[in-house]
Amino acid sequence: MAKELLILDNGTTCSCWNYCGARLAAGSADGTVSIFDFCDSASSSSLRSSFKFKAHEGNVVKVVWVPPEYGDAVASVSADGVVSLWEEVAQDSQPTQWKFCKSFGSSSSKVLDVQFGTSLNSLKMVVACSDGHVRVYELLDPLELRNWQLQAEFQNVIESVSAFGKALCFSASISWNPQKGGSQESSFLIGFNSNTSELNSSKVWEFDQAHQRWLPVAELALPEEKGDRVYAAAWAPNIGRPYETIAVATQKGLSIWHLGLNPDHNGTLPVERVALLPGHEGMVWQMEWDMSGMTLATTGHDGMVRLWQSNLNGIWHQQAVMEPTA
């Protein structure tokens, strides 16, 4: 049932597939990022390494592909919290190579997660930082990945006035609404794993065109669980359901949420938790929805890969487990 595609080099720490599953980017402890390609189209026979470049001095902890409308480019995050953006180009009859575009980071806070989304025909990059701040950058020229502008910076809280001490965040999880709405506005979801309970719960942020600012439109946590640390969050593709489906992992387990499509008079979207599932006995590393949004794959601290589905009666349950064995 399982087929081996690739053996990774020693020290590889993270990987990410591009939009069509034809290229893999892998980050390593020595700060390099490797790109692998399938030898032939229409086959998933074997991957071979095609490029390797040194993106960071330290450990690479995360790699993310930029949406393909902006080229073949990856953003990598290092353990010291710097984002480095590289793209593949071949100019003036030169062979194809990977070029550095830009890096993002500050001395005061580390970048924990980065995700790209398109909204109103422009590329947005959302960055979550260790001080609990969320930054949204906007690409100015669609063909030039070097020119970015900071569009907004805010904290993941509903009430902006609430005061709390210096936040220390360990991890964060960002998930864009996967809707491909080129010229439409888009929204994203973010949750933190931090020592500050106000920051933690997953909130849905939407851009308010009239006032040119990002607003929280939903909070995915029960009233008594708002301070729970969020390990991972994933927004399911919606192929036509009358609600959005979102998965959020906290120490209590995996929650499946339904998010209504129509806001109430306050502009808030109705939410309903439809399932609480046991999860991975601790930290959840990653959650991924399939392209129909029917099956959720998760992996975490217990070292398993688990698949979750709803049955015909709307009851969510575990569908299969994959256990790595030597």
Binding site: A2, I7, C20, A29, A42, G71, M291, P324, T325
Partner: protein, 716 residues
């Protein structure tokens, strides 16, 4: 009687990823061969049901000895819920390809029909005949390769023959056809089942002792048996074959009886007479015939009353023979007991039937043949099945039995769940057409839109699930749209996701992808795809292809950026040799008629630059006039972006200051001056981008134009 399917079968799973999820959760090993421990796992869905898992080993600090230890991780691909291991991948693809046309035909007939009768349900009239035709198409698709024909001269002792290798998939399909699609067969259900078992009994041999298995074994041993009729297996096998109605086999075997041998005929006359009498009775067994059941033994009757009459007569003949005094005179103990047992079977002796059959389904079939030959209607059939299961409790479950029980108890959900679990998404997506034709109630269950499923019906759900499976393979994803477009609510959403996730690197694949967008009017998706292709080619040094695709996607914002770059490049390279290369690209940008997105002016710009080149090259006034002509054309053309005006005019300084004569007339000069004026307004606009020109450019242009104007006025 009815049980809730979702509680018992496959957890009511939407996608049957695991073969058996009845009680315990299926745990799949992911063999990676890495040195433990695994420090981290990353997961990613590829298209459809294909999940890619990256496993990262804990980095080892010390240099390791074996290369095995050195690998830092593995990337695995897991394909989930693909279906039936009985059938190879390439065979599955063939079935997938072959079922497209029947499926599409049925859908188009359905929509044509519902157009015709908007008011009432489309399943009236003779809808089932369409479904039956569809079902027959699928059946022929599922037929395996014909086995090579046996030797032309048949061995006297050849008793079991196969025409083609049977598969569970085809067996299941035919079963569904009998019960749901073929309305004419409703009256002949028992007879159809007898025929069905004759074709597929061998399949059950994988999990159970079967009549077929007994026969096949006996066939092998046959040559070594000296005196056939003295061997108890001979009689046992015959009684088994008779119990499930394989009359021709039994008659053939009876004729192997030793008493037929010429040298024995005289002294075993009576014994032979009894054997022959039984053989004749067997071959005269009255049978209801549903269609051309040719090549079968038994007396065939088309109408029920005739059949009943014949049946009673036949039974009385058997009873008469059973009570005959000749039995006492028959010296051969084996023959006597064996033949009488055959008679008991024909008389419907439950105990004999129970002994003769191996598996509950065989016992069930024997009931229809000998105990309840006049059975009609499905209601009593389920009770009988339960009785047979009690009499012969199965030690293990064959993949077909769950389906049979589900059908008999008329539980649509169980039938679906069993089909899905045992035969996978292809089966469900296609068989559901048969189920909806089966009954009003099933149709309601299957068409009902459920909130829990996100507002879709079971039919749509199973098509989506099948489309996901198709999407997982590089060669079958192109079929998925056929099924997705038959899904009213969520099909298009999934199709969009599928199309967007195709690689654009290879033109053939890209064009096939765009063709699907065109067929289903998904212009926004094809525009996205072409944009991705355009950016890919542009960034990878295929400028012509990049511009072509961006033009196709009408991406003006990117084309405007490109126009700027090309303007600079064309301007620079016009003088050198490499310009030849640009020619082709500029040709491609072509004429005004196409939406080139601010690029068509490059064509004119090229002409302008070329004549300008000649001017600088020292050519005469004619060239200069030509250059002016091109300049005016460029400046008049609304497609020439404003940001290029100043560089164009600056390039033309020499023309404005032409010493021999003013090259521009009054109105032309005024046109250019007006453009300059417009430019100075535009510079106040916040988004104006200043061209990279010397600071005095504007003023020197203005001065030159003013001078030219003065000279032109004097000239006129």
């Amino acid at each position: 009687m009815s049980r809730v399917a979702s509680d018992t079968v496959g957890n009511g799973a939407l996608v049957p990823f695991s073969e058996d999820t009845k009680d315990s959760l299926a745990v799949y090993p992911l063999h990676h061969g890495l040195a433990p421990p695994i420090s981290r796992i990353a997961i990613s869905w590829a298209r459809g049901n294909s999940l890619r898992v990256s496993l990262f080993a804990t980095p080892s600090s010390e240099p390791s000895r074996t290369p095995q230890d050195q690998s830092g991780g593995k990337v695995l691909e897991v394909k989930l819920g693909v279906g039936d291991p009985e059938i190879s991948d390439s065979r599955w693809r063939q079935i997938a390809y072959g079922s497209v046309a029947p499926f599409a035909l049925l859908q188009s007939r359905r929509s044509a029909l519902s157009e015709m009768i908007k008011s009432s349900s489309p399943y009236q009239m003779d809808w089932w005949e369409n479904v039956l035709e569809y079902s027959k198409d699928i059946t022929s698709l599922l037929s395996g390769p014909k086995l090579p024909p046996g030797p032309i001269i048949e061995e006297r002792t050849d008793i079991v023959k196969k025409r083609e290798e049977p598969t569970c998939l085809k067996a299941a399909w035919e079963l569904l056809e009998i019960f749901y699609a073929d309305k004419q067969s409703q009256a002949w259900l028992p007879e159809k089942l007898v025929d069905w078992l004759a074709d597929y009994d061998s399949l059950f041999s994988s999990t159970h002792e079967t009549v077929y298995g007994k026969l096949a074994r006996f066939q092998k041993e046959l040559v070594d048996i000296q005196v056939l009729e003295d061997d108890p297996r001979y009689w046992e096998v015959m009684s088994s074959a008779l119990s499930v109605g394989w009359l021709d086999i039994v008659v053939k075997m009876l004729r192997l009886h030793g008493s037929y041998q010429l040298d024995q005929l005289s002294n075993r006359e009576l014994e032979n007479g009894l054997v022959e009498a039984v053989a004749v009775l067997i071959s005269k067994m009255p049978r209801l015939c549903h269609e051309s059941t040719n090549g079968k033994l038994g007396e065939l009757f088309k109408s029920k009353p005739d059949f009943i009459k014949a049946w009673e007569k036949w039974r009385s003949q058997i009873t008469k023979l059973d009570c005959s005094p000749f039995w006492i005179q028959c010296g051969n103990h084996h023959t006597r007991e064996g033949l009488r047992n055959l008679l008991q079977i024909m008389l419907g002796n439950t105990e004999s039937l129970c002994m003769a059959t191996c598996y509950w389904i065989e016992l069930y079939i024997s009931h229809f043949l000998y105990i309840r030959p006049f059975t009609t209607g499905i209601e009593s059939m389920y009770n009988l099945a339960q009785k047979c299961i009690q009499l012969k409790p199965p030690s293990s479950n064959h993949k077909l039995t769950g389906l049979i029980v589900g059908i008999l108890e008329e539980n649509t959900e169980v039938v679906l769940a069993e089909s899905s679990r045992e035969f996978g998404p292809w089966m469900v997506a296609h068989a559901i057409e048969l189920l909806t034709a089966g009954s009003e109630q099933a149709e309601i269950v299957l068409h009902d839109e459920r909130y829990n499923l996100g507002g879709i019906s079971m039919i749509e759900l199973h098509r989506l699930v099948y489309a996901q499976v198709l999407s997982s393979h590089a060669l079958t994803w192109q079929i998925a749209p056929i099924y997705l477009t038959s899904c009213m609510k969520q099909g298009m959403g999934l199709l969009e996701n599928l199309l967007y996730r195709q690689s654009i690197q290879h033109n053939d694949l890209l064009l096939k992808n765009i063709e699907i967008c065109r067929l289903y009017e998904l212009d926004h998706i094809s525009s996205d795809i072409m944009k991705v292709a355009g950016v890919y080619h542009w960034k990878h040094g295929h400028k012509g292809a990049g511009v072509y695709w961006l033009q196709q996607s009408k991406d003006t914002s990117r084309l405007n950026r490109i126009a700027q770059q090309l303007f600079d490049s064309v301007g620079k390279s016009i003088s050198d040799e490499s310009f030849k290369q640009w020619e082709g690209l500029i040709e491609l940008l072509g004429s005004e008629s196409k939406p080139a997105g601010g690029l068509e002016f490059l064509h004119k710009y090229r002409d302008f630059k070329r004549s300008l080149q000649q001017v600088y090259g020292g050519k005469a006034t004619d060239a200069a006039r030509q250059a002016v002509g091109s300049l005016i054309l460029l400046m008049k053309n609304p497609s020439t972006p404003q940001r290029f005006w100043l560089p164009l005019l600056y390039d033309s300084l020499k023309l404005f200051n032409w010493h021999e004569c003013p090259l521009l007339n009054v109105s032309e000069t005024n046109l250019l001056l007006n453009k300059l004026q417009e430019l100075s307004w535009a510079r106040l606009h916040p988004h104006f981008s200043e061209p990279n020109l010397p600071a005095e450019a504007l003023s020197s242009i203005r001065l030159a134009l003013a001078t030219n104007l003065g000279r032109a006025i004097l000239d006129e």
